[in-house]
Symmetry: C2
Subunit: 614 residues, 2 copies
């Protein structure tokens, strides 16, 4: 088993998205749409579907029966979390007023002992904690995340108090010498650690740690055991977490667990989980991830099957799982200071996660196949609507992935135009200005302005897709020891004065990607990627073409064309197929935003003999 | 056998280098050095070694015996040709005076019937035309090329008259119903066609055509047959030229022949040679060319052996052969309007041919291996000094490879910053301004200024190494039918007005190249190329490293760094080898310009498992 030493840890610190002002043309318009369209639409759907009324009913403020599914409370919390992040970016009285109204209902629904899950209160109060699959703590976790966010956004304590009462109720009920519990859908773990960070109360992270340690010892209970084909691996209850070797079961649950485990290392200083985290990361990313970053190929368990089982048309690839990969990989990136984790964050940001939402911000994918004959389309809402509400909280907080504070200075993890401010370990305040048209261009100019001049290190991530690059600092080529490249970052250690710039030019040609040969679905196929953006072909651009008819030579030349009038502004790829017919590729994330038709990422390769093989 | 139709021909017209003013930082400084160092050095060597005196002696102006080798006259002619080209770029009274002095001696050496080869005049006047291997017409061909050039440069007819008298002598002596002749070293064929173009006298190209047709019918005579291991294939006398299937024998001779054959198609309109040219081109380029553009692996015959026999350390790759590849491929490019030929021109320009000369312009390689343990160095001169003198005429005329006039407009074949003027088929004068830092950057801005606005087509070559690119014309993305890509060129047909620009951005990442698996020497090895420039590793940058010790991962990241202070200004590549040690690659053409040590192009690959294969 891998032993990971304390010395391998970097323990970078997050730079919160509130310190990062994004002024770019890719994400900033999406944040506007999120605020104007997505959040109001999600709130309206929560209202229409009785999700909000459930709280009023549980609190005795409204007559009626519980509506929907037992985990529906979580959707309301997740939208509230998104509202909070949006308010942090820009206060909005109307949005805040609506949130306050909902929070009143939530507070009313909390039972006197702190318990809160409207399904059990309204439907089966006597059956609480009898079934790990009923998402009681999953609901609780999302409440906690929303509460911490809303408190940070507004300074209002009401929801935070509800969350603490709930967490205290858990802490009184479960733990060493108290009741056992394994939650079927992880989420509570990372939420409790967030609550610890917000309140400084150690007992919250200790409870999170205990809950993780409970797994794999036969403490799981309830109806899930009646589905033997799932088994305990479905909800990561098959082995003690520190012994995890392989990713198993439900994809979102697994990713939330690993996120909690990474958090636990960070808060506890205990490296016991590191070996498991590294093993399961390799197993997930190297054998069970699609080129889009999608994970979990199977509809059956919303999760993993066999290694390299990555079918395209039937790919499940839940949007939530892609978002959860961001959560986990961001934490791993901070823990280890290794760009290979930020690579995954980036892959999800521009592909697997972003595909989940329409360009207009009002329709969503739950399932993200890599090929479709034309019958798969986004819809405004789902009975199980975890994906829209996950996007509602993921998108506004995207600024947090851009920078980190390191022991020696600053790390730039993602390239998004904007401004940021942070304080170095030594107390020096630094202003950063990033100019780039990423992801459409690989040129990034970073202006570094420390309050007082001094020596520190700026680490620029060299993405995994980038195979050659140029870099200058202060107008000089960076070379030698001051430009060590380690763990996917170029480290520039120098004396920085106000206005000094780093100019990083990442070569961003179109790459023809071949899957590992173990992936049966992609044998003889290639995909196109430019920078972090994976491309697909859509029928909308090829009216005469049939599904899977096209062939592509790996050696054909591609014309790269930025079109502001296409799909909200995309860089498209144009070339000639194996039969000499012109074609166009568009970013995968933007598919199904025009007339219905087929879509394909992996295209059959037309074999061609070449003088040299590249 | 391939049948090539008349309709496949494009018959582009060359834009002479006199119409192309190069203002770039790569070639222009080399032209300065050529004029200041290389030409004077070559003239001095011709003087020192008795090459010039041989003319004075043959003309009865000086006492003494013939010095050197029978083909030494040709070196004087080739330097004179280089002087002429240099004078076309910039008049220089001293250089011209020296040329005039030498020309007087050459004229004096010509025999009354027009015969001119000082070896035979001085050594064996009775043995003329008894041995095809004695380079009589090879000398004559170079005289003709020099004469045409000098006449075009200065308007002075003396040398041209000598050349015409010589050609007339050939024409009187050889031809249908006269004597048979197969010249052992081709050169006369393309020279006679040049003389036809300069004088308008049909008999010159007809004689060239007849000389080519003589081959392969058993008409060769002389000592060469006493070297049975060479045989007639050595000098392309084994089959009639129109039946050529494969490249054989001495590399320079073969390339000069094919150049003459391409010229013959152009002047005669007869397509009989096209099939042979296309076949032998594929055979040469796809099976018998090094990544540097070098051809002819063997010292034994200065030429070709078996397909895919491309050893690195023992590679012969004569500089002249690389230059001759330019001559041939330039002609093929004009004939077929196909960028695959211009790709070879470019490959030679930036690699195989350019390596032949030191950065200071005063030392030369005859032999260009792709790996050296440290004992191979340029020298100031050779007994057989064809290579220095070929560089002396190749370099100043490099501007001719940049543009061509097409039926529909203009083709841009090479990217070199500068200005040019040409006249379209319809009579419109067009000024071109090209701005680029090629070969270090793939961004090219071409300003197209026709005297009067109108519709025509500008074809921009998309080099073979370039796999994705962006292009705008008049500030707009070019797409659809006006941007057809055919035969390696992007055609932009539009209405052009003064000052309209094309902005072409060729993605120029570092490519890791693998040879075809048939090349035994390179199995398990990779080479690095960026744009047209092939890289090598030199001991000068790695004092602690042993020859062939280094390993390289195909997936390692490379830092691209332009260094004006290194090797005359180069873009170097820096990275980490398979063992984590830093390394630097420098352009192959620039090797052996620092302290002696090993050099390698093909590096052993360190195998590494990757998530995705590129």
């Amino acid at each position: 088993m891998t032993t990971v030493q304390q010395s391998e840890l970097r323990n970078w610190h997050e730079v919160p998205f509130t310190r990062v002002k994004m002024t770019d043309m890719f994400w900033r318009p999406r944040l506007e749409i999120l605020k104007k369209v997505t959040l109001p639409a999600c709130l309206a759907k929560c209202e229409e579907t009785g999700r909000i009324d459930n709280f009023a009913k549980a609190g005795g403020l409204l007559e009626g029966e519980f509506e929907g599914i037992y985990f529906n409370d979580s959707d309301v919390y997740k939208v509230l979390e998104g509202v909070a992040y949006s308010l942090m970016l820009e206060r909005d009285a109307a949005l805040e007023g609506e949130a306050d109204r909902i929070i009143e209902l939530i507070a009313a629904a909390q039972e006197p002992d702190g318990y809160l899950t409207t399904y059990y209160t309204l439907v089966a109060p006597e059956s609480k904690w009898s079934d790990m699959e009923k998402h009681e703590m999953y609901n609780g976790g999302h409440l906690i995340e929303a509460a911490v966010a809303y408190y940070e956004a507004t300074g209002k304590r009401q929801l935070l108090d509800v969350a603490c009462r709930l967490a205290d109720h858990y802490d009184r009920t479960f733990g060493p010498g108290k009741r056992h519990w394994v939650e079927g859908h992880e989420e509570i773990e990372l939420a409790l650690i967030k609550l610890y960070r917000a309140t400084g109360e150690d007992r919250y992270w200790r409870l999170a740690y205990w809950l993780m340690e409970e797994r794999g010892h036969g403490h799981g209970v309830g109806a899930i055991w009646e589905k033997p084909e799932w088994g305990p691996a479905y909800c990561q209850d098959d082995v003690p977490v520190r012994e995890i070797e392989q990713v198993t079961g439900h994809a979102v649950r697994a990713m939330y667990l690993y996120s909690g485990m990474a958090d636990a290392v960070h808060v506890s200083g205990d490296t016991a989980y590191l070996g498991a985290l590294q093993r399961v990361w390799s197993h997930t990313v190297e054998r069970n991830m699609y080129v889009t970053g999608g994970i979990g190929p199977s509809h059956h368990n919303e999760g993993f099957t066999e290694d390299f089982d990555l079918p395209n048309e039937s790919a499940y690839c839940e949007t939530c799982a892609a978002i959860a990969m961001v959560f986990w990989n961001h934490r791993m990136n901070l823990l280890f200071g290794d760009g290979k984790y930020a690579d995954v964050v980036e892959r999800e940001m521009y592909n697997g996660a972003l595909a989940g939402i329409s360009l207009k911000g009002d329709r969503f994918f739950y399932v993200n196949p890599l090929a479709s004959k034309g019958d798969h389309h986004r819809v405004p809402w789902f009975d199980t609507s975890c994906c829209p509400t996950n996007l509602a909280r993921f998108l506004p907080s995207i600024g947090q992935y851009v920078y980190a504070r390191t022991a020696a200075g600053i790390a730039v993890n993602q390239y998004i135009q904007g401004e940021a401010e942070l304080t170095l370990e030594n107390g020096t305040a630094v202003q950063l200005k990033q100019r780039t048209s990423f992801p459409w261009s690989g040129t990034v100019e970073l202006e570094v302005s420390p309050e007082t001049s001094g020596v520190f290190t700026v680490q620029m991530r060299v993405p995994g897709w980038c195979r050659s690059y140029r870099v200058q600092a202060g107008g000089e080529w960076v070379s030698g020891v001051e430009a060590l490249e380690e763990r996917g970052y170029l480290s520039i250690e120098r004396h920085w004065s106000k206005g000094d710039t780093v100019l990083l030019e990442l070569d961003m040609p179109v790459e023809r990607i071949r899957a590992r040969e173990e992936v049966q679905a992609n044998v003889g196929r290639i995909a196109l990627q430019r920078g972090p953006v994976v491309y697909c072909i859509e029928q909308a651009d090829h009216p005469g073409l049939s599904y899977d008819e096209m062939t592509l030579s790996a050696y054909g030349k591609l014309r790269v064309e930025h079109r502001e009038d296409l799909l909200g502004g995309v860089t498209a790829l144009q070339g000639t197929d194996g039969n000499g017919k012109p074609y166009r590729f568009v970013p995968y994330y933007a598919w199904d935003n025009r007339e219905p038709g087929f879509m394909q990422v992996w295209i059959r390769e037309k074999e061609e003999e070449r003088l040299y093989k590249y």
